[in-house]
Symmetry: C2
Subunit: 409 residues, 2 copies
C-alpha cells in the first residue's frame, strides 16, 4: 500500500524537480550559452561567442605569478577571505584606475566573481518585482538575463547611430532604479559614446535623480587611442562602474569588480556574503601580482594589436563581400561589429542555415529588452583567426545575397 501511494506520488509535479519558483519557470537558457556549445565544434567558424583569443592569454606570466603567490603566501591564498575582496587586489586596481586618469579609493572597490556577478548583485540589491530599470536598446544580453531573475520592468534609453543619446532623456526616467549603460565599445554594437554625451548623461542623472550602472568590460581594448573617461568621473556620487579581468587577463579566473560610493557598495557586499561568501582568494592574489608586476603595460599592447588586426580583417571582409543594402558599425576597440540587414531578413530564422554552412553569429533579437529587431546580427572578430574571418564573412554574405535575391524575385 505504501509503495502504491509512493508510486502515485512520483507522478506528481514533484517527480522530476522540487516545486519551481516563478523565476525558474520563466527563465530560459541564454541563447549565447547554447551557441557557445555549438561554437566549440571545431568545424564551425564562430562569430557568436565573445571568447577572447587564446593568443591573448599571458600563460607564462600567470604561471610565474602563481608560483610566487603559493611560495610567499600559500596558506593565505588557499584560505577564506573577506567578502569585500583581497586588499592587495583592491589596491592594485586602484593604482591601475589612477593611471587611466580615474582615481578611486581601494575601499570603494568590491571584488566580484566575474562582472556577470556584479549584474546579479545589482539586481538582488536594487530590483524588486516590477521595478523600472533603464537599458540601452540594444543592450548586453547577459545583463538582461541577470536582471530578469528579479522580474523588473525594462524601459529603454534613447539611442541613435552614435549610441546612447542623453539629450532625449526626460522626466519619465526619474522613477527608475538605475540606468544600465555600456558607454565604451558597447556589446553588441561596438559603439563608444562621446565625452560630451557622457557629461550630458551625468547631468541628466542628476536632474532626474537616478543612478547609473556603468559596465566597462572592454575599455582596455582600444586600438588607436584611449576612449573618453568612464562616466563615473562625471557623476561619481551616483555611478557604480563594473570592471573585469576577463578580457585583459583571463575569463577563466572569473574575476571582476565594482567601483562606487561605499554606501551603495555596502548592500552589494551584504548580499554577496549570502550568495557566495567571497571570490576566490587564489585568483585574486594571482591577479594582484600580475598587476603589480606591470602586466597590463607589457601585455595589453599585444592584445590591442591582435584585436585591431582582426577587427580590420573583418571590416575589410564585410566591405569586400557584403551586398549593398547592408550596413555595419566600425568600432575603435572591443570585440564586436553590429550588422544591419534589410528589414525583411530575419536573423533568428537565418541562424539555422548559417550553422548548416558552419558559421555562427548572435541574432539581434537577443539584445533587445522589449521590442526586438530581427534584421541585425552581432559578429565577434576576436575568437577566429584572420583567414577564417574572411572565409566566414564570405559564407554569411552569400547567404544574405541569396535571401535578397529570393526577396526581389
Amino acid at each position: 500500500m505504501f509503495l502504491f501511494i509512493a508510486g502515485m506520488r512520483t507522478m506528481s509535479d514533484n517527480s522530476l524537480t522540487p516545486p519551481k519558483s516563478i523565476r525558474a519557470r520563466s527563465s530560459q537558457r541564454s541563447i549565447i550559452r547554447e551557441l557557445l556549445k555549438l561554437a566549440s565544434q571545431p568545424d564551425v567558424i564562430s562569430f557568436a561567442g565573445g571568447l577572447p583569443s587564446p593568443k591573448s592569454f599571458p600563460v607564462k606570466a600567470i604561471e610565474k605569478a602563481t608560483d610566487w603567490v603559493l611560495e610567499t603566501q600559500g596558506t593565505r591564498a588557499l584560505q577564506y577571505s573577506s567578502t569585500e575582496g583581497e586588499p592587495a587586489l583592491r589596491k592594485a586596481i586602484a593604482a591601475h584606475e589612477a593611471e587611466l586618469g580615474a582615481p578611486v579609493d581601494p575601499d570603494c572597490i568590491q571584488i566580484v566573481s566575474g562582472s556577470q556577478q556584479a549584474l546579479d548583485l545589482m539586481a538582488l540589491a536594487y530590483i524588486d518585482e516590477g521595478s523600472k530599470v533603464a537599458v540601452e536598446d540594444p543592450t548586453y544580453l547577459g545583463a538582461l538575463s541577470a536582471f530578469k531573475l528579479q522580474r523588473p520592468e525594462f524601459v529603454t534609453l534613447p539611442t541613435d547611430e552614435h549610441g546612447l543619446n542623453p539629450d532625449l532623456i526626460g522626466p519619465e526616467f526619474s522613477g527608475i532604479r538605475f540606468a544600465y549603460v555600456m558607454p565604451t565599445f558597447q556589446n553588441p554594437t561596438g559603439i563608444t559614446i562621446t565625452e560630451e554625451r557622457r557629461k550630458k548623461l551625468a547631468e541628466k542623472a542628476r536632474e532626474y535623480d537616478f543612478w547609473i550602472l556603468e559596465d566597462n568590460p572592454y575599455g582596455e581594448l582600444w586600438y588607436d587611442r584611449q576612449p573618453p573617461k568612464p562616466i563615473r568621473c562625471y557623476a561619481p556620487e551616483r555611478t557604480l562602474t563594473m570592471g573585469t579581468f576577463s578580457k585583459v587577463l583571463s575569463p577563466g579566473f572569473r574575476l571582476g569588480y565594482i567601483i562606487g560610493p561605499k554606501p551603495a557598495l555596502d548592500p552589494l557586499t551584504t548580499i554577496k556574503q549570502a550568495v557566495d561568501l567571497h571570490t576566490s582568494t587564489f585568483t585574486q592574489l594571482i591577479s594582484a601580482r600580475c598587476l603589480d608586476e606591470g602586466l597590463m603595460k607589457t601585455h595589453m599592447p599585444d592584445v590591442r594589436a591582435l584585436y585591431r588586426t582582426q577587427c580590420h580583417c573583418m571590416l575589410d571582409a564585410l566591405e569586400r563581400y557584403f551586398p549593398e543594402g547592408t550596413t555595419w558599425t566600425k568600432p575603435d576597440g572591443g570585440m564586436f561589429i553590429w550588422v544591419t540587414l534589410p528589414e525583411y531578413i530575419n536573423t533568428d530564422d537565418m541562424m539555422k542555415e548559417a550553422l548548416d554552412r558552419k558559421v555562427a553569429y548572435v541574432p539581434s533579437s537577443a539584445f533587445y529588452a522589449n521590442e526586438p529587431k530581427f534584421n541585425q546580427m552581432r559578429l565577434s572578430f576576436v575568437t577566429v583567426p584572420p583567414e577564417k574571418i574572411d572565409q566566414g564573412v564570405k559564407v554569411l554574405a552569400d547567404l544574405i545575397k541569396e535571401k535578397m535575391a529570393a526577396h526581389n524575385a
Copy 2:
C-alpha cells in the same frame, strides 16, 4: 537654478544608494562574517569561524598541479568554460564518490562557486516569497542567509539529542519546497544522524512527497570511522546533495558541487548562467588534477589526524574547565562542538565580554530559523592550535562560572 534642484535632490533617498530592494532593506550582515573580521585580529583566540587550519592546506601539491595545468592546457584553463562545469572535474568527483560507495554519473554533477552558491541557486530556483522550506533546528546560518534573500517561510524539522528525528515528520511537511539537512557532523552541533534515521527520512520524503537538500561539507572529516552513506543513496530520485572542496583542499578556491537527478539540476544550471556564467575554469582544472593524482588518499589522513587531535584537545579542556550545569556534543568528525549553558545565560550578551577577554565563539541565536535559543554556543576547534584551545576554553569557563555565581548570588 539647476544646481539648486540638483542639491535638493541629493537630499532624497537616492542620495546614498539607488532605491533598495525589499530584500536589501531586510538583509543584514551575517554575524559570522563580522566575527571573522574580529577573529583575524592576532591576539584573539577565535573558536568562531570555521576557517580550516592552514596546516591542512596541501600547498606543494596545489603548486605542482597548477604548473601541470598551465603547461599542458594553459589556454583552456584561462578560457571561458561551460556553466555545468569542466568535464575533467565532474569525472574526478564521480570517481571519488564511487570510491565512497555512492556512485554518480558525471552528468548529474553541477559545479558551483563554493557550496554557498549551491544554497543561493536552490533559493533562486525553488523558493518564491512565502514558500515553505524546512530546516533543522538549529541549522547552518549561511543557509538561512541564502534562503532568506528569496523570503521563504521556515518550518523546523523535529530534532532531539541525536539530531534530526524523522519519526516525527508528519503530513505538515507535504507542501514544502524542500528540506535542508546536514546529516553528517552538522554545523553547528557536530551531530551525525544514524543510517536508520537516514533511511527513515528518505521514506518520509517519499511518503509526503518532498525533496531533500543534503549538505555534506564535512563528510570527509571523520576521525575514527567513515560516517553512514549520504541520504541521496536512500532517496536518489528526490535528493540534491551539496559537496565542497573548501574543507579538504582549499576554501580559497571557492569550489563546490551539487549531485542530483539531471532534471532537478537543469533549473540550477540555467540560473547559474545568469548569476555568474560559470565557476573558475582554472581552479576547476587544478582541483581535478589534485583528485586524479590521488591527493584525497594521501592528504586526508593527515587532515583527519590533525582535527581529531584538536577535537580531543577541546573536549578535554571542556571536561577540565567547564562547570557542572553545562553540556556539549562529542562529535566523531567535522569542525564544531555545540555547548549548552544554563538557560539564564545569554550567549549573545556574553559575546562582548568574551571578546574583551580575547576569545570568540558564535552565539546560538544565529542558527535558529524561527524561535532562537540564547543559551548555547558553537565552538570550532580547527583554526586554533592545541595550546590556545586549552587557554581559550579556560577563559570561557571562567566567564561562565562568574555568570553562574552572579545568578546564584
